[in-house]
Symmetry: T
Subunit: 157 residues, 12 copies
C-alpha cells in the first residue's frame, strides 16, 4: 500500500539513520526472545529449574524491549520488520543448536549472545546520539538491562 | 549433545507421531505471534486503535499456546524447535507484507492466517486422537481459542 | 439483514447439528440464571443466608457458561437466541413458582432443574461428538460444573 | 406457600405503589441485560470490537441495577418477578431482531430501548416520591447511569 | 476549650436541627455496632456460623455509617458525641441480654433493633428535608442499607 | 460543526437551565483542581508535607467531580466548556497568588475558595430541583464532599 | 437462656481468673476505640490532619485487639460483655471531654489513656501467667502494640 | 449412617466403575502430597533451595487435583476415602525413606513416584472412557499436569 | 543416607525432647487435615454448605501449622515424619467413619478430635518450656488457633 | 510573601534558563490535559468510544508529566505557574473549538496540538542540555511519550 | 539535645538492662542486612541465582527485625544506635571478605554469622525474661526466624 | 578468592573510573539509608509523625538506589563494597548525633546530608559521561530523586 502521510518529529536524514539502527536492534531482540524460549524448553542438567525460570525472565523483559524499539521506529515514521524471515536473516546472534541443551552450554550460549547484542546496542547508542536523543535514551535503558542479564549469566559459570 | 535418558509416557510410535504434530502446530503459533506484533506496529487506518489492542490480545494468548505446545513436546520426550529459521521454513501461514498495513487488509490477513492455523490444528487433533489423548485435549483447547479469534476478525469485516 | 459471509470451521451438516445442540443448551442456561436470581430474591427460611449466597455463585457461574455457549455458536457461524421470549419458550426447566420461596422448596426445585439441564447437556455431548469435538469439550466442562452444583443441593437435603 | 410475616418499613398503600413501580422497572432492566447479550453475540460490522465491549459494560451495569431493584422490592415486602416469561410479557422494550445484527442497527436499537427504559424510570421516580424516598433515590441513581449510556450510543451515530 | 471559628454551610437554625438529628442517629448506629459484636461473640446454636459472619458484615457497614454521620455533623459545625456513656444513655435500641445468645433469639433481637433504628432514621429524613438536603441524602443511603439488613434477618426466621 | 441530533431526556427549558447550572459548577471545579496543584507545588512551611498530600487528595477528588458534571451536561444534550480561557473567565474562585505559598495562607485560601464553590453549588442544587432531579442528586453528592474538605481546612487553622 | 455445654480447655479456677482478666481488658479496649473516634471527629488545631489519620490507625488496631480478646474469652467458655453500658461502667480510662478537642490536649489525653490501659494489661499478663499461657501470649502482643502507640504520642509532645 | 438418597448422573455400573477408578487415583494423589512435603522438609544437598520450592509447587497442585477427584466421586454418588490409613494401604507409590533426604535421591524418587501415578491415571482414563467422559476429562487434565512435573524432575537429573 | 553435619541451636537432650514433642504434634495435625477433607467431601445434611466451607478453613489453617511444626523440627536438627503410614500409626485422633457423614455427627467428631489434639499440644507446651522456648512459642500459637476452632464447633451444637 | 531560603542544586544562570524552559512546557502540558478532557466530553461520530477512551489515556499521562515538570521546577528553586489564566496566556497550543466535536476533527486537532507541544519540548531539550542534564532527562522522557501519542493519532487518520 | 520527658512502661533497672540487650541485637541485625547485600552483589558460582535470591529474602526479613528491635527500644525509652560506625564497632559477626565471593564460601559465612547472631539473641532472651516479657516475646520471634534461615543454609552445604 | 573471568562491557580505563565513581556514591547512599532509619527512630517533636513517615519513604527509595548502583558496579566487573566499616570510612555525609533528635534538627541535618550526597552525585555524572553513558543515565535518575527529597526538606523549614 501507499505510505500514509506520517509526519516525523525528525528530519529525513536523522529519521533514516535512526530507523536503520532501531531495525538492527529489533532483529537481535526478537531473536533473543526466540532462543530464550528454545533454551527454556530444551534445557537439561542439574541447574535446570533455576535456569528455566531465569530464561523466562529474560524473555519477558526482552519482548517488552523489542516492542518499545519497534514502536519507537513507527513513532519516527519508519516501519519495523519483525517477521521470522527477517529476524532469521538480520539477527547477529550465534545460531542456537537443536535438540537437548545442557545447562552449562546454555549459560555459555547466552554469555555469547548477550555480548553480541550489547555490542550492537552500544554502536546504536553512538549512532543515534547525533540523530535522535530520544531514541538514544531508549537504547541506553535497554543496554543497561541486557548488561545486567549478562552479569548474571557470567556469575553462574 | 547426547540425548538424556528421558523416559516418555508414550511408546515410540505414539511419541514420534505426536511430537511431529506438536512441532507443526508450534511453528504456526510462533509465526502467528510474530505477524501479530508486525501488524500491531505497522497498522494504519480509522480502525487503528481497536485493532492495535485486539492484535496484542491475540499475541498474548498465542504466546501462551505456543509455550504449552512446546512444553507438551518435551513432556513426551521430543525437543521442539522454535527458532526463527525453523519458524520461517515450517510455518504454513501466508507471508505478511512489509511496510504500512491498512486496517482492512490486516483483518483479511488474519482471517486467512487463522483459517490456515486452525486447519492444521484440526488435522493434529485427528492425528493425536489415536496416539495421545492428553496432547489432543491441549490442541482442542487451543483450537477453540483460535476459532473464537477468527469469529471476531470475520465479524469486523 | 442479510447474513454476512461467515466461513465456518465446520461443514454445513456439522454446523447445523452442533448449532442446534448449543442453542438448546443456551436456553436452559439462561433460564437457570434467571430462576437462580428469582430464588435468591424471594427466599425465606432458616437456611436463608447460606442458600442466598450459594444461589449467587450458581448464577455467576451459569452466566459465564451461557456466554461461552453462545460465543461458541457464533464461532461456528450459527446465531444464538437468548431473548426472554425464546428462553421462555425453549427452556426445558420446570416452572419456578411466584411469591415467597421456602428454603427447602428451593433446594428441591434446583435438584430437579439441574437434573433436567444435565440430561440435556449429556444428550448434547453425545450429539456433538460426531460433529465437533471442540464444542463437545466445552459442553463436558459445563456438565462437570453443573453436576457439582447438583451434588451440593442434594447434600443439603 | 403462605406469605411469611414480613413487616415492611412502609404502610400498605405506599408499599403497593412502590412495589408495582419497582416491578415494572425490573422487567425492563432484565430485558435490557438479555438483549445486551444478544447484540453482544450476533453483532457484525466495522465497529464490532468496540461495540462488543461496550455492550458488555452495559450488561454488567444493568445486572447490578436489576439486582438492586429486586432486592429493594423484597426489602419493602413485595416479591419481585424476574422470570423469563414475566420479562417477555412485561418489558416495554422494542423487540430485538433475530440473526446477525449490523453495528449501526444495534446502536439505533439501544438508543430506542434505553429511551424507553428511561421514560419508565422517570415515571417511577415521580411515582415513588410520594411513597418512598429511599426507593426513589435508588431509581434516580439508575436513571443517571442509563442516561449516560444513552448519551454514548447517541454520540456514536 | 473555646469553640473554634468554624463557619457552617448552614444557618443557625438549620444547623441546630440537623445536628440534633445526626446525633440521635449516631447514638443508635454506634450502639448497633456494639450489640452486633456482642451477639457475634456470644452466639450459640445450629445457625452459629452463618449468623456469626452476617453480624460482622452488619458491624462493618454500620461502623462506616456512624463515621459518615459523625463527620457530617462536624462538617456542619456541630460536635458529635460517640462516647460509651452517651451511647448508653441516648440509644433507642432495646437492651441486649448478657451471657450466651441463642441464634433464634439473636435474629429476633436484630429485627427489633433494626426496626427501631430505621424508625428514627425515617424521622431524621423527614426532619432534615427542610434544613439540609445534603445531610438528608446521607441518611437516605443509610436507611436503604439498614432496611436491606432488616429484610435478611426477617427472611431467616 | 453542526450540532448532532442529540435527543435529551429533558425538555428544552429544563435542559437550558440545568445545562447553565452545570457549566457554572464546572468552571469552579476545574479551577479548584488547578489552584490545588498550584498550592501543592509552591507550598512552604512547617505543615508542608501534610498539606502537600492533602491538596493532592482534593485535586484527585475534584477532577472526578468535574468529569461527572461535564458528562452529565453532555448526557442532557448540552456541551460543557472546560478550556483554560473559559475557566479563567467563568470561575468564581478568588485569584491564587504567584510564587511561594506559606502553609497558613494556603489553608486560608482554600477555606475561602471552597466556601465560594459550595455557595455556587447550593444555588445550583436549588435551581436544578425544579428542572432535573438526576442532576440535582449529582450536585448534592459533590457538595457533601466539598463541605467535608472545607471542615478539614477549617479544623487545621 | 441456659448456658450451653461448653467444655473449656481450662479448669474452673483458671477459667474464672482468666475470664475476669480478659473482660477487664475488653472494657478498656472498646472504650479506647470509642474515644479514638471521638477525638478523630472533634479534633482541631495545626496538627489536625496528621493526628486525624493517626487516631484512625489506633482505632483500627484496637478494634482487632478487642475482637481477639473477646473471642479468647468465649474460647475458654466465658461470655464477654462489650455493651455500651458495661464499657461505660467498667473502663478505667479517663473521661474524654465533649465538644471540640485541641490537638495538644488530644495527645495528652491519649498518653494518659494508653498509660492506664497498659497498666491494666501488664497486671493481666502477670495474672494469666499462672492460669493460661495462651491467653497471656495474646495479651503480651496487645501490650507491645499499645506501648508502641504510646511512644508515638509521647514523641509528638 | 444410612446412605442418603443421592441420585447420580450415571447408571449403577458406570457409577461403580468410575467411582473405583477415582478412589484409586485419590489414594495416589494424597500420598504424593504427603511425600512431597516429607521431602520438602528433610531435603539436604546443593540443590536444596530450588528443589524445596519445586516440591511445594507440586504439593500445592496435587492437593487441588486430589480435591477435584474426591469431589467428582461424591458428585457421581460415591464416597471417597482419603484417610491416612486408607492412603497408606491403597497408594501404589514407592515408600519414601525416613531421615535426611539427599537432593539427587529425591529427584530419583519423584521420577519413580510420578511415573507410577501417571501409569495408574492412564489406566483410569482408559477405564472411564466407556463409563463417564466427564470424569475422564478431569483425569486427562491431571495427567497432563503430572506428566509436566515428571519432565521437570527428569530434566534435572 | 548418613546424617549431614547439622549443628543444632539446642543441646542434645533439649533437641531430643523437643523433637519428640514436635513429631507427636505433627502426626495429629496432618491427620486433622486429612479427616477435615474427608468430612468436607462426604458431608450431608441441612448444614452442608456452611460446614463444608468451615472444614476447608480448618484444613487450610492446619496445613500451615503442620508445615511450621515440621520446619521447626528440622530447624533444631530433627527429621519430622509426615508419611501416611506414620500418621496412621502415631495420630491420637479418633478414627473417622467411612461413607456419608451426617452434619451433626461431623460437628461431634471435630469437637472430640480437636479436644484430643489440644490436649497433646498443651502437654507439648509444658514439655518444651524447659527445653526450647522458641518451639514453645510456636506451639502456643497453634493451640490458640485450634482452641478457637473448638469453640466454633461447640457453639454450633 | 518573601521567597524562602531555598538553595538550588544549580547556579543562578542555569536555574533561570532551566526554570523558564520548564514553565513553558508546563503551560502546554496543562493545556493539553484540559483540551483532552474537552474533546473527551464533546466528541461525536462513529469513532466516539475508541477516541473517548484514548483521550482519557492521554489526559492521565499528561497530568503526570505536568506534575513532574512543575515539581522539577520547584526542586531547582523556581516556582511554576499552572493557574488557568497563565495557561490561557502562555500555552502555544491551537485553540480548541466550542460545542460538539466531530471525531475526525478531533484527530486532526490533536495531531496539530501534539506537534506544537513536541516542538517546544525539543527546544527545551536543546536548551537544558547546557544548563541541567537532570531536567533534560525528564524532558526527553516526556517527549518520547508525546511522540508516541502523536504516532497513534496520525495512524488513525 | 536534652532527653524529652519520655515515661517508660518499665522501671529504671528493667529499662537499662532491656535497652542494652536490644541495642546489642540491633547491631548484629543491621550488620547482617549489610553483609547479606554485600554477598548478594559479589556472589559467583553455579549456585549464583538461587543464593542471590535467598540472600535478598534474608535481607528483607532482617531489615524488618532490626526496625522492630529499634522501635521496641524507643518504646521503652532507650535510644537505639544504628549508625554505620556503631554497627562496625558493636556487631559480633565475623568480617565479610572483599571482592568476589564464591557460592560455597558464602554459605559457610552465613552459617557462621547466623550462628553468632542466634547465640547473642538467646542470651538476650534469657536476659529480658526477668526484665520485660514483651521485649522477650519479640526476640523469641526473631530467633525462630533466624534459626530457620540457618537450617536452610546448613541444608545447602 | 581468584577473580572470575568476568568480561566487562567497558575497557579497562573506563571500567576503573566508572567503578570508583559508583563505589563513592554507594557509600553515601548506604549511609543515607542508615541515618534515615536512625532519625526515623529517635525523632521527637510536634512534627514527629509526618517526618517519621517521610524518613521511611526516603530510606525505601535510597535502598533501591544503592542496590542499583552496586549492581551496576558488578555489571561492569567491579566489586562494590557496602560493609559497615567501609561505609563508616568512605561516606561523605556529616555525622548524625546520638540520642533523641528534635524534628527541626532532623530537617536541617537532611538538608545538609542530601546536599552533600547530591554534590558527589553531580561529580560522578560529570565523570561517567566520558566513560559510560549507561552508568551516567542511572546516576542522573538517582540525582533527580534525591534533589526532589531535598526540595521537600527545604520546604518544611
Amino acid at each position: 500500500m501507499t505510505a500514509p502521510a506520517m509526519t516525523s518529529p525528525l528530519g529525513d536524514a536523522d529519521k533514516a539513520a535512526t530507523g536503520a539502527a532501531l531495525n538492527r536492534v529489533l532483529a537481535d531482540l526478537i531473536d533473543l526472545s526466540l532462543v530464550g524460549k528454545q533454551a527454556h524448553w530444551t534445557l537439561v542438567g542439574r541447574g535446570f529449574r533455576s535456569l528455566h525460570l531465569q530464561l523466562d525472565e529474560v524473555v519477558d523483559a526482552v519482548r517488552i524491549h523489542a516492542d518499545d524499539v519497534a514502536e519507537r521506529a513507527v513513532t519516527i515514521g519508519v516501519t519495523p520488520d519483525g517477521r521470522a524471515k527477517t529476524v532469521a536473516a538480520e539477527s547477529a546472534l550465534p545460531e542456537h543448536p537443536t535438540g537437548w541443551a545442557q545447562d552449562t552450554d546454555v549459560i555459555d550460549y547466552f554469555v555469547s549472545a548477550l555480548g553480541t547484542a550489547i555490542g550492537r546496542l552500544r554502536e546504536a547508542i553512538a549512532e543515534t546520539e547525533k540523530h535522535d536523543v530520544v531514541s538514544q535514551d531508549l537504547l541506553i535503558g535497554i543496554t543497561a538491562a541486557l548488561e545486567k542479564h549478562l552479569w548474571m549469566f557470567q556469575a553462574e559459570r
